[in-house]
Symmetry: C2
Subunit: 302 residues, 2 copies
């Protein structure tokens, strides 16, 4: 089948473009180190044309659906957040065309307020979740998207009902690189046993502040040789991911679906296993099925 759509996951530090036919098969893909932070002076139109030059030359102006931070205030053009609950219909009807190119449309992110009135936001994950629903032929469950800012979303009847962000990945990176905790860490292949120690320690945390206390054990356990240097980074990772899961997971029979890079999903799968929670992992690149479904509902793919 001929190409019918360009889907792009365009984030802060990454640019992943997919050439799709109308059944969602990936005909070609282009990745570039052209995250929005790497595009200067708002030259997104030029970055788009340059990165996709081969496709544009061969196939002309195809409809394009972009998701991720490209729709933020720092992106190409701001696509105002849609409000939860939201599914294909809500996102398709709120697509934001970029200036001067009506065939290029940006998926809005989602925002919500929790019971205490605190706002939370996502950009890009909504499209991954809708793609995962399609890939797995389901219309509900708990979706976990691990990463710099992990998202835990609840999906009901094909619509994202609500979500929470956990800064686990970014906190881990900042603590490792910019506090005393990184001093004793040795680079080494992932240590299953350090990770499990961290998960165990996380289960014994009673309050939020106990985490600020227990973090110091990354140092003290290293200082006394209770944990070898090459296990300390994984211990910290287990401590943070374990705390995230305890806070985020609501016991219940529903499917937990992991969406993300295989390495991170494997780490979360192991952590969920540890607390007896079974999980499914969505196929890599399922985001393209989100791009396709949104385009279909918006009437952009014949």
């Amino acid at each position: 089948m001929p190409p019918a759509l360009i889907g792009i996951d365009w984030g802060t530090t990454s640019f992943r473009a997919y050439l799709l036919d109308r059944a969602g098969a990936v005909l070609d893909r282009i990745e570039a180190p052209r995250g929005i932070l790497a595009v200067e002076n708002g030259a997104f139109a030029e970055a788009f044309s340059a990165a996709l030059a081969p496709w544009l030359a061969n196939h002309g102006r195809l409809p394009a659906i972009l998701s991720g931070m490209i729709g933020s205030r720092q992106g190409w053009t701001e696509a105002p957040y849609a409000r939860c609950p939201a599914g294909l219909r809500e996102l398709a009807s709120a697509l934001m065309p970029v200036p001067g190119a009506a065939e290029i449309r940006i998926v809005p992110g989602l925002d919500q307020r929790d019971a205490a009135g605190l706002p939370d936001v996502m950009r890009g994950e909504e499209t991954q979740i809708l793609g995962a629903l399609t890939a797995l032929s389901i219309d509900g469950g708990t979706f976990v998207l691990p990463g710099t800012h992990s998202k835990w979303a609840t999906v009901e009847g094909g619509r994202i009902a609500g979500f929470r962000t956990f800064m686990t990945g970014e906190v881990f990176a900042a603590l490792r690189a910019h506090t005393i905790l990184g001093r004793l860490m040795a680079e080494a292949p992932g240590s299953g046993s350090g990770f499990r120690c961290g998960l165990d320690a996380a289960r014994r945390l009673a309050t939020a502040g106990d985490l600020l206390n227990r973090l110091f054990s990354v140092r003290s356990l290293g200082l006394f040789g209770d944990l070898p240097a090459h296990e300390l980074a994984d211990y910290l990772s287990g401590l943070l991911i374990g705390a995230e899961i305890t806070a985020a997971h609501r016991p219940g029979g529903e499917t937990v679906v992991l969406v993300g890079s295989e390495a991170l999903c494997a780490r979360y799968r192991a952590a969920l296993d540890c607390v007896g929670v079974a999980s499914t992992t969505a196929p890599a690149d399922c985001v393209v099925l989100g791009h396709l479904k949104i385009a279909e509902v918006a009437g952009l793919v014949a």
Copy 2:
């Protein structure tokens, strides 16, 4: 009275020396940017002589008591940790002379294991606490030493019975400087209302992982203008200090004594007030009374 003792609080980044008479009056003081990280190739003897040259020239070889990270593996000479519970007697009997200068002695830090077997350590704070006991003429209570690594210690019968470290200050600095949370923050004078919002939010945290979630509100509240940019840093500060206090404070009638810089103590005093905990602040430089008392018990001051 003539000088009887040199007391030095020699930490990772600071060097504060006090010339004391035998009643504990401070006759002179010398501060220098000569924390142990600034002393190269282990040249601590030279750093000591250079910083204190005027005193050594005028008063000859006085006994000196040093506390802080100067006794760590990265310091002048390692003073092995004493074990809790420990008071003046235990510390005085474990003083570690530096190589080649028997009149210069380092106070050991303290270590302990909690109920779960996790180690914790302090270096320097034990001397501040013993000084505060003397300054306030008390022999027990809860002692809070806010800072990069906040310490909460329980003192009974003049001895430090146990303590916990909270990485509040270092986590705050790493999150502000090295994560997305700092991006929206404007430099401004301390904002009481941002701080109180953070304290309120901390009270609503149920588990450790909820902190990883709530941290993101520093960004989302800024993004939607719920909190002005100049209040965001104090909101983060309130969130972390509030979580620390909830985890660390055990309700009871005992005195809470704050020991540290006036600015930090004021911040913790306000946070403790918010949860109905009265506190006393120890006098600045009370650490010298710890140096003096330890020297007395060790028989170094006539």
